[in-house]
Symmetry: C5
Subunit: 95 residues, 5 copies
């Protein structure tokens, strides 16, 4: 899974019918301190996450292993909200 920062939202009226009503959040890959360093991508929310949250995203077919994303044309899903990260015994991120 990637550590990712949610930086924004996407509005799309015309979309695959299975995506109706789903939140399409813009994420950016983050490092082990929670700092957004990577390029943007869009993931479906399944854990009621919001802009500013640090989250974990699962990709590819693994992104379809939730009740919300099953059998949908979706390749990235937010499946956890991160409370804290620890590296070498020290907190590097805390919500």
């Amino acid at each position: 899974m990637l550590i990712a920062k949610i930086i924004g939202t996407t509005v799309a009226t015309i979309k695959d019918p299975k995506l109706e009503g789903r939140k399409l959040l813009i994420c950016r890959e983050a490092d082990e301190t929670g700092k957004a360093t990577g390029k943007p991508y869009v993931a479906i929310d399944t854990v009621n996450a919001g802009v500013g949250d640090l989250v974990l995203t699962a990709h590819g077919s693994s992104g379809r292993q939730t009740d919300i994303t099953k059998d949908t044309p979706v390749d990235a899903v937010i499946m956890a909200v991160i409370d804290s990260l620890q590296v070498d015994g020290a907190n590097t991120y805390k919500k």
Copy 2:
């Protein structure tokens, strides 16, 4: 999913029979403001998108979870047309 700009079209007479009649659009990865910054790839259209549109593309096996791409040798599908993008509460792209 990737944010992508549709920049062109592909003509291919000789192709897998399951792709007969499908639109093969050239996309380039875009950033959170809708600016094309990445390298080109080709995706199958499923939402009647056209050149110039900013879209979302799903990749890998997820690209086969639409009625049009089911069981086809296709690894990228356009599954939404983006109306607008919001980052930090401000519109960064509007169609």
Copy 3:
């Protein structure tokens, strides 16, 4: 799918039995003008393509959705020969 130029061939006597008799072509990723710019990879031919052709390749499990590659340990397949590419209304490649 990736736009790719076929640059060569691979000979491999010892291989997975399901690959017996299959053409293993060396491809390089190309840009929207058909110029090879990326790194090499090997794909199975399913459309009678040859060295010098500009083609589309599908990757991952999508590469196994053809009669030739079904259930084989193959992650890249040539599924179309490109006749022409159009960007911004102009031909950028013609066979």
Copy 4:
């Protein structure tokens, strides 16, 4: 599989229910001498690995082929703890 160094841990209270009780370890890709050189990602532990261990991680749908990760929205799994690496006949890493 990637050679990876476990550098830390992740705490996430809100997560997909199937991940309840699973260890979410922060990994960094390592080279053939065991030195962490790549960017961080999070993997599920299935072999009782811990911070500081050099491990192998499997990705994508392959990450779901263990009893622990079956049918879960998980795309990276730790499936081996590395004892030693040999390159050109010499040990480049020993636990």
Copy 5:
């Protein structure tokens, strides 16, 4: 598939039980002349390959389409030993 050079071996006592007895070889991506240029990864051998061989590796779910890797948490498999590579009509590699 990637062209890869086998550069070493991995010893791992603690591992997923399905990997018992399998050879874990360290590969590095190679170019069309057989020169190792990419970063290291570990693949399961299915064709009796050894250190120094130039091989083809299949990735992702495609890596599980052999009798040896079926249903295992493995995302890279060696499925062919390369005898020779030809680019532009000339041999660029010969075993």
